[in-house]
C-alpha cells in the first residue's frame, strides 16, 4: 500500500509503434533462443492454473462439500488428486519456468539472448560513422540504446510471462467469483477508482521528486568536494568547507520545504486510495457475502472463504495488469532507441565496385570539410601532396585543423568538398578496409585495450611466430626495459579493467607502446598525432630519431604544435584556419621570416636568451 511506484515516462506513443517495438523485442528473443517463448508461455498458463487450483478451487470445494455433508473419504480423495496434479506441475515448472529461482534452462536462454543482442549492437557500433560519436545528441541516443539493452528486452519477456500467468490465474478466479454472485464484480471494480487516486499521488510524487532533484544534485556536489582527492588540498587551505556545508544545509532545508508542500496532498490521496481498496472492498465484499450466505443460503461457506481469501487478490491482479501495460509502454520507448540505433544509416562504406589499393602519393585536392552541426568549415580548400616516402610535419596552433586532416586521411570522415586521392584514385572508390590498412597511426588520445601487450601492439589477435617481430617493434619504441620487467612479458594483460593483476602503464609507457604499433605494422603511411606529449625531452628526441630511421621507405605525417619536431621533416606545412598558410623545409620557412618563423621564435625565445648568456 505504501509501495513506491516507478515514475512513468510521459511521452505519447502511437499504439502501432508500441506494438511494433514489442514485437521487435519478442522477435529478438525468438531468434536468439528459439522455443523459449513458447515453453515459457505454456508453462505459465499451467502455472496460473496451478495457482487458481490451490488458492481458489480446492478450498471452495472442500468447505462447500463439508457444509453439504459429503463424507470424509470422498473429500480426502479429491484433495489427494489435487495434490498429485499440484506436485506434477510443480516439478515440471521447476525445470522450465520457476518463479522462485533461476534454472539452467532459463539462464542459458537468457545468456543466448544477451550474446545475440550484444553482438548485434557491437557489430553495428563498429560500422557506425565516427561522426555519430561526435554529435552529442545522436550519441546520447546510441548510448541510451546500449545501456541496459538486455534488461529492457528481458523486461518484455517478463511481461509476456506475467500475462500468460494472469491469463489463466485471473480468469479462473474471476470466473469463480462471478459465478458465486455477479454483484461481487462491482467490488472488484473498486480498485479502478483507487488506481486513479494512486496515479494522481504518483504524479504528485514525481513532480516533487523533480523539484528535489535540484537539491539532491547540489548536495551531492557538496559531498564530493570533501571526499574526492581533487578537492582535498583546497578544502584544507581556505574556508571552502564552511561554504560547502552552508550550501549543503541550505539544500536540506529546501528539500524539507518541498516535502512539507507535497506531503498533505499525497497522504490524503494515498489514504483514500488504500481505504477503498483495503477497507471498502474487503469488508464490503465480506459483509455482503456473509449476509447472503446466512440470509438466502444461496452462497455456501466455501464461497465465502473464496471471496474473503481472493477478492483482494483478484483486484490486485487487475491493478498489476495495468501496471504491466504501463511498464510495457515505457519499455517500448527504450526498445525504439535500440531499433533506431540498429537502423542508423552509415555513410562511409565500401563502394559497390571497390578498387584494389595501389601504393603511391597521397593527395588532398581542394578539400573542404565541415563538422556536422558546425557553422564554419574546419578545413577550407586545402591542397597538398604527401609523396611516397616523404616526411611531412603538419604544424599550427590548436584548432588549426591538424587532427581533422588525419581523420580525413583515414576516411573516418568523408570530405564535404574536393577529393582525396591515393595512388591517383579517389579514396571513396577504394576498398575501405584495404585502404585503412595502408596506414599505421598513433593518435593523440591513443588507448590501450585490456588485452595482452602483444595484441595491443598488433591491434589484432597474435598469430604464431610473430613474437619476435613484436619484440623488435617494442624495442625500437624504447619499451624493452619495461617489457623485461613485466611478469608475463608479451602476454601481460594491460589495465585492471577485469584482472586485478593487470598492468597499468604510465602515460609515457603507454605512449611508447602505441608508437610500437607503427613499427609493428607494415603500412605504407604512418601518421603520428602529437605522439610525444607524455614523453620527457630525452625520450622525445630518441623517438624522433628512431622513427626517421625505421620509416626510411615509408611516408610519415607528424602532427605537432611543438615546433622542435618540425626540424627533422622533409617538408613543413603550417596550417591556419584549415588551409595551408606556409609550406617548405624548416630552413626555407625560417628564412622567409613569415608566421612559422615568428611562432618558432616565440617558442624558442627563453631558450635562446639562455644560450646567449651562457655563451657570454
Amino acid at each position: 500500500m505504501t509501495m513506491k511506484k516507478q515514475n512513468k515516462e510521459k511521452k505519447k506513443q502511437k499504439p502501432k509503434v508500441v506494438l511494433k517495438n514489442l514485437l521487435f523485442a519478442l522477435q529478438i528473443i525468438h531468434r536468439a533462443a528459439p522455443g523459449f517463448l513458447l515453453v515459457s508461455g505454456v508453462c505459465n498458463l499451467l502455472n496460473g492454473f496451478r495457482s487458481a487450483l490451490t488458492n481458489v478451487l480446492i478450498l471452495r470445494y472442500v468447505v462447500n462439500a463439508v457444509q453439504t455433508g459429503e463424507d470424509f473419504a470422498t473429500i480426502a480423495g479429491v484433495v489427494l488428486l489435487c495434490f498429485a496434479v499440484h506436485l506434477g506441475l510443480n516439478l515440471l515448472l521447476n525445470y522450465f519456468s520457476p518463479w522462485n529461482h533461476p534454472t539452467v534452462y532459463t539462464r542459458e536462454n537468457r545468456q543466448k539472448i544477451r550474446v545475440y543482442l550484444d553482438k548485434m549492437l557491437q557489430e553495428k557500433a563498429r560500422a557506425l560513422d565516427l561522426a555519430a560519436y561526435e554529435d552529442p545528441a545522436e550519441f546520447d541516443n546510441y548510448f541510451k540504446a546500449r545501456e541496459d539493452s538486455l534488461d529492457h528486452i528481458m523486461s518484455v519477456y517478463w511481461s509476456f510471462v506475467q500475462l500468460s500467468f494472469r491469463a489463466s490465474d485471473l480468469t479462473t478466479s474471476a470466473a469463480v467469483i462471478f459465478s458465486i454472485d455477479p454483484w461481487l464484480s462491482l467490488f472488484v471494480l473498486l480498485p479502478v477508482i483507487s488506481s486513479v487516486l494512486f496515479k494522481k499521488s504518483n504524479d504528485l510524487n514525481y513532480e516533487g521528486d523533480l523539484e528535489k532533484k535540484k537539491c539532491r544534485r547540489a548536495r551531492d556536489y557538496a559531498l564530493r568536494t570533501f571526499y574526492l582527492t581533487d578537492f582535498v588540498k583546497e578544502m584544507r587551505m581556505g574556508n571552502f568547507p564552511e561554504l560547502m556545508k552552508w550550501r549543503f544545509e541550505e539544500e536540506v532545508e529546501a528539500q524539507k520545504r518541498i516535502i512539507r508542500r507535497y506531503a498533505p496532498k499525497v497522504a490524503t490521496l494515498e489514504f483514500f486510495g488504500c481505504f477503498l481498496q483495503e477497507i471498502v472492498l474487503n469488508f464490503g465484499a465480506i459483509a455482503y457475502t456473509v449476509w447472503q450466505a446466512l440470509g438466502t443460503g444461496r452462497i455456501l461457506y466455501g464461497d465465502c472463504l473464496v471471496v474473503i481469501n481472493s477478492i483482494a487478490g483478484v483486484s490486485w491482479s487487475i491493478i498489476s495488469l495495468t501496471e504491466t501495460m504501463t511498464s510495457l509502454l515505457k519499455e517500448s520507448l527504450y526498445i525504439s532507441n535500440i531499433r533506431d540505433f540498429l537502423a542508423a544509416k552509415i555513410e562511409i562504406q565500401n563502394a559497390p565496385d571497390a578498387k584494389a589499393v595501389r601504393r603511391g602519393d597521397l593527395e588532398f585536392r581542394h578539400v573542404s570539410f565541415t563538422y556536422r552541426g558546425a557553422e564554419k568549415p574546419t578545413i577550407q580548400n586545402l591542397s597538398f601532396i604527401v609523396h611516397d616516402g616523404e616526411k611531412i610535419a603538419l604544424v599550427g596552433q590548436n584548432g588549426a585543423g591538424k587532427t581533422t586532416i588525419a581523420k580525413l586521411m583515414l576516411r573516418l570522415y568523408d570530405v564535404t568538398d574536393g577529393e582525396i586521392l591515393y595512388g591517383g584514385v579517389n579514396i571513396k572508390e577504394l576498398s575501405l578496409e584495404e585502404y585503412r590498412n595502408a596506414f599505421a597511426v598513433v593518435f593523440q588520445d591513443f588507448k590501450n585495450f585490456s588485452t595482452s601487450v602483444a595484441e595491443n601492439v598488433l591491434l589484432r589477435p597474435l598469430r604464431d611466430g610473430e613474437e619476435s617481430a613484436v619484440r623488435a617493434a617494442l624495442d625500437k619504441a624504447g619499451f624493452t626495459d619495461k617489457l623485461n620487467a613485466l611478469p608475463n612479458g608479451l602476454d601481460t594483460r594491460l589495465t585492471r579493467e577485469f584482472d586485478d593483476k593487470g598492468e597499468n602503464l604510465s602515460g609515457g609507457e603507454s605512449q611508447k607502446l602505441s608508437i610500437a604499433r607503427i613499427y609493428a605494422k607494415e603500412a605504407s603511411i604512418a601518421i603520428l598525432d602529437e605522439p610525444t606529449s607524455a614523453l620527457d625531452p630525452i625520450a622525445e628526441y630518441h623517438m624522433y630519431e628512431n622513427m626517421m630511421d625505421a620509416c626510411r621507405d615509408r611516408s610519415v605525417v607528424f602532427i605537432s604544435h611543438r615546433l622542435s619536431s618540425a626540424v627533422l621533416a622533409d617538408r613543413v606545412i603550417l596550417l591556419e584556419n584549415g588551409s595551408v598558410a606556409e609550406s617548405g623545409t624548416h630552413h626555407e620557412l625560417i628564412e622567409r621570416g613569415g608566421k612559422y618563423a615568428a611562432m618558432f621564435a616565440m617558442q624558442a625565445e627563453k631558450y635562446r636568451e639562455g644560450e646567449v648568456r651562457a655563451d657570454g
Binding site: 500500500m1 505504501t2 468447505v63 484433495v79 489427494l80 489435487c82 495434490f83 506436485l87 515448472l93 521447476n94 539452467v104 539462464r107 542459458e108 553482438k119 549492437l121 557491437q122 563498429r126 560519436y133 561526435e134 546500449r146 544534485r217 556536489y221 559531498l223 571526499y227 584544507r236 587551505m237 581556505g238 574556508n239 560547502m244 544545509e249 524539507k256 516535502i259 512539507r260 506531503a263 497522504a267 494515498e270 489514504f271 488504500c274 459483509a287 449476509w291 461457506y301 472463504l305 474473503i308 481469501n309 583515414l410 591513443f446 591491434l459 589484432r460 589477435p461 579493467e497 622542435s564 618558432f600 616565440m602 624558442a604 625565445e605 631558450y607 635562446r608 639562455g610 648568456r613 651562457a614
Partner: protein, 598 residues
C-alpha cells in the same frame, strides 16, 4: 564499490554489534525518526494479526450458527480499527518518514563531512583506506535507510508471524508443528538456493566484467578511431566469446544444483499446502476438534509463518552484508589524523627553512632524502627537476599536508609542528598544479569561502592582477556569476586558461606571506603560457614566491634555483651560476633549448 562487498564471513556477534552501532548513530541523529519507524512497524504488524484473527472469527461464528447481525457488527468494528491503523500509517509514511529519512541521511553525511576534513591528506593516498572511505561516504545515505528498513521489516514480519503461529498452536498443536517443520525445511532449501546463486554471482563476476568492458569500449568515443582502422574488434570479440564460454560452464555448475534443490523445495510446497488441508479436514470432520474458522485460518495463513521465517533468514544475510559496510564506517570514524597542530601563532614572516628533511610515504619508500633549503622574506626561489624528482612532495610537506619523517621544517626558526595548524597554513598561499574550481560564484572561488561585501574590492583587485578583468566584464553576473554547471545549466564553464587565472587570483587575494606556484602554466599552449607567466611575474613583484616547474624557461628568473633529482638537491644557485657550473641543470636546460636553436 562492488569489490568491497566480497564475501567475508562475519561472526554473528560482530554483525549484531555493528547493527547496534548504526542504530545508535541513527538514534543520536534523530530519536524521533527512530520511534516513528518502530511505531510504524508495530502498526503494520497489528494490522496483519487483526486480519488473521477476524478471518478465523468470521468462520467460527458461521460454523456456530451465530446471528448475522453479530457477524456484521464484528466486521464493522474490525473495519473501523483497520481504518485507524491505515490512517496512522499513511500519515506517518508520507509526512514524518519522508522528512526524517532526509534528516538521518544528511545528518550522517554531515558527520562524515566533518570527520573527513579532520583527516590528513596522507590518508587519502592510501588506496585501501581511500576506496573504503569513498564507498562509505557515497553509499551512506542509501545504506543507512536500507539497514533501518531491514530492521523494520524484521520487527513487522516476526511479530505478526509469531502471533499467527501462536493462534495456530492454540488451535491445534500437531497442525502448528506440521507447518513449522515444513516451513523450516523449505527455508533450508531456499537458503541453499540463495547461497548457490550468490556463489554464481561471485564466480561470474570476472567474466561479467570482461563482457561489459567489451561492450563499453564499443561506445566510448575514445576507442572509436582505433576500432575502425585496426582489427582490434577481433581481439575484443575473442575476449567476449571467452567470457561467454566461461559463464556457460558456471551456469551448468551452479544452476544445476539450484534446480535440484528447487525440486525438493517444490515437493515440500505441495506437501505442505495439500497436507494442511487434509490434516485440518480430518480434525474438523473426524476428530471434530477444529471449527471451520480454524480450518480457514490454517489453510490461508500458514504463509505468514513462513514469511516470518523467511524474513529472519533474509535479515540475517542482509545484516551480515551491511555489517561489512558498517565496519568500514566504523574504521573511518575511528581513524584519527596523525597531523596535530601546536599552540603557537605565527608572527611576521621572516624565513621558511627545510633542515635536512627526508620523507617516506606510507609504503615506506623514501622519496626525499636530506633536503635543506631556505627562503627569506621577499625572495623568489625555484625548484626544478624532471617528473618524479620530489618537487610536489616538498610542497606538500611545506604546507604540512604531511609531516616529515626526518629533519625539520622551521618557520621563523621554530618547528612548524609547534604552530596552530590552521594559522600555519594561512602563512602559505598556493596555486596547485591540479587546482580546482568550485561550483560557487566567482567571488567565492577567489575568496575561498563566503565572500563578504567588504571583501569584494580585494577580490576584484586580485582578479585584475591575474588579468581576468576582460573575462569578468563579459560574465553575466560579474563577481556573482556561478561557475561550473554542477547546479544549474546556466552556470559558466571557464576554459583551462581562465580557470588557471582564478586559481592564481586566489593566491593573490590571500596575499599570504609565502606563495607557491606549482607548474602554473602546464596545460597551456606556448603563446598563452608566455603571457600568463608575464602576468604572474608582474603581480608578485615584492612577494616571497616558490616556483616549481620542469620547464626551465619558466623558472630562470628566480634568485636561487634548486635542482632536484631522485628526491635530492643535486645543484643549487642562480641560473647563471648553474649554467657556468655546467652540470645537470645546464644539461637539462640545453636539451630543452636545443630544439630551438637553429
Amino acid at each position: 564499490m562492488a569489490e568491497t562487498e566480497k564475501k567475508k564471513r562475519q561472526k554473528p556477534g560482530r554483525v549484531l554489534a555493528n547493527t547496534l552501532y548504526l542504530l545508535g548513530m541513527a538514534w543520536k541523529i534523530s530519536p524521533r525518526f527512530f520511534f516513528g519507524y518502530i511505531f510504524d512497524a508495530l502498526v503494520l504488524s497489528a494490522w496483519s494479526i487483526l486480519d488473521a484473527w477476524y478471518f478465523k472469527r468470521v468462520f467460527d461464528l458461521l460454523d456456530m450458527g451465530a446471528p448475522v447481525s453479530e457477524i456484521l457488527w464484528m466486521l464493522l468494528a474490525v473495519a473501523l480499527t483497520t481504518t485507524l491503523l491505515l490512517l496512522s500509517n499513511t500519515v506517518y509514511w508520507w509526512t514524518e518518514n519522508e522528512k526524517q529519512k532526509l534528516v538521518i541521511k544528511c545528518g550522517l553525511q554531515l558527520k562524515l563531512f566533518d570527520h573527513a576534513l579532520s583527516l590528513d591528506i596522507g590518508k587519502y593516498e592510501i588506496p585501501e583506506f581511500y576506496n573504503d572511505f569513498i564507498w562509505a561516504v557515497r553509499t551512506a545515505d542509501v545504506k543507512v535507510c536500507e539497514i533501518l528498513k531491514v530492521v523494520r521489516n524484521l520487527i513487522r514480519r516476526v511479530s505478526s508471524g509469531a502471533a499467527v503461529f501462536g493462534i495456530l498452536v492454540s488451535l491445534d498443536l500437531f497442525t502448528a508443528a506440521f507447518i513449522l517443520v515444513l516451513t523450516a525445511s523449505g527455508a533450508v532449501c531456499s537458503t541453499y538456493i540463495n547461497k548457490k546463486c550468490y556463489a554464481y554471482d561471485m564466480e561470474s563476476r570476472r567474466s561479467e566484467r570482461v563482457a561489459s568492458y567489451v561492450s563499453r569500449v564499443h561506445y566510448l568515443a575514445d576507442y572509436a578511431k582505433e576500432l575502425r582502422i585496426s582489427e582490434a574488434g577481433k581481439v575484443l570479440e575473442k575476449l567476449y566469446d571467452e567470457s561467454t564460454e566461461e559463464r556457460r560452464g558456471l551456469i551448468r555448475k551452479y544452476f544445476g544444483k539450484v534446480q535440484t534443490c528447487g525440486a525438493f523445495w517444490n515437493v515440500i510446497g505441495a506437501v505442505k499446502d495439500n497436507g494442511l488441508i487434509l490434516i485440518l479436514l480430518y480434525k474438523m470432520m473426524v476428530e471434530k476438534t477444529v471449527l471451520l474458522g480454524g480450518f480457514a485460518l490454517g489453510v490461508t495463513s500458514s504463509w505468514r509463518v513462513s514469511s516470518a521465517l523467511q524474513e529472519i533468514i533474509t535479515a540475517a544475510t542482509e545484516l551480515a552484508k551491511h555489517s561489512l559496510y558498517i565496519e568500514k564506517l566504523r574504521t573511518f570514524f575511528d581513524t584519527k589524523t596523525s597531523i596535530e597542530g601546536g599552540t603557537k601563532m605565527p608572527e611576521r614572516f621572516e624565513s621558511l627553512e627545510c633542515k635536512n628533511i627526508s620523507f617516506a610515504y606510507e609504503n615506506g619508500v623514501e622519496v626525499l632524502h636530506d633536503v635543506s633549503l631556505k627562503i627569506t622574506a621577499g625572495e623568489k626561489i625555484a625548484i626544478v627537476g624532471y617528473n618524479g624528482a620530489g618537487k610536489t612532495t616538498l610542497i606538500k610537506l611545506l604546507m604540512r599536508f604531511y609531516d616529515v619523517t626526518g629533519g625539520e621544517i622551521l618557520l621563523n626558526g621554530i618547528n612548524i609542528k609547534e604552530y596552530d595548524l590552521d594559522a600555519y597554513r594561512k602563512v602559505i598561499g598556493a596555486v596547485f598544479q591540479d587546482y580546482k574550481i568550485f561550483a560557487a560564484t566567482v567571488a567565492e572561488n577567489v575568496a575561498c569561502g563566503l565572500c563578504s561585501d567588504d571583501a569584494r574590492e580585494g577580490v576584484t583587485a586580485a582578479l585584475d592582477a591575474a588579468s581576468f578583468t576582460d573575462k569578468l566584464q563579459k560574465l553575466p553576473d560579474g563577481l556573482d556569476t556561478h561557475l561550473t554547471r554542477e547546479f544549474s545549466d546556466k552556470g559558466t564553464n571557464l576554459s583551462g586558461g581562465e580557470s588557471q587565472k582564478i586559481a592564481i587570483a586566489r593566491a593573490l587575494y590571500k596575499r599570504a606571506p609565502v606563495t607557491v606556484m606549482d607548474e602554473p602554466s602546464s596545460a597551456l599552449d606556448p603563446v598563452a603560457e608566455y603571457e600568463l607567466n608575464r602576468h604572474i611575474e608582474n603581480a608578485l613583484t615584492d612577494q616571497t614566491v616558490i616556483f616549481i616547474s620542469h620547464r626551465l624557461s619558466t623558472t630562470r628568473g628566480a634568485a636561487r634555483i634548486y635542482m632536484f633529482e631522485h628526491g635530492r638537491i643535486i645543484e643549487d644557485g642562480s641560473h647563471d651560476a648553474l649554467i657556468a657550473q655546467n652540470g645537470k641543470y645546464a644539461a637539462m636546460f640545453n636539451l630543452q633549448a636545443s630544439k630551438y636553436r637553429t
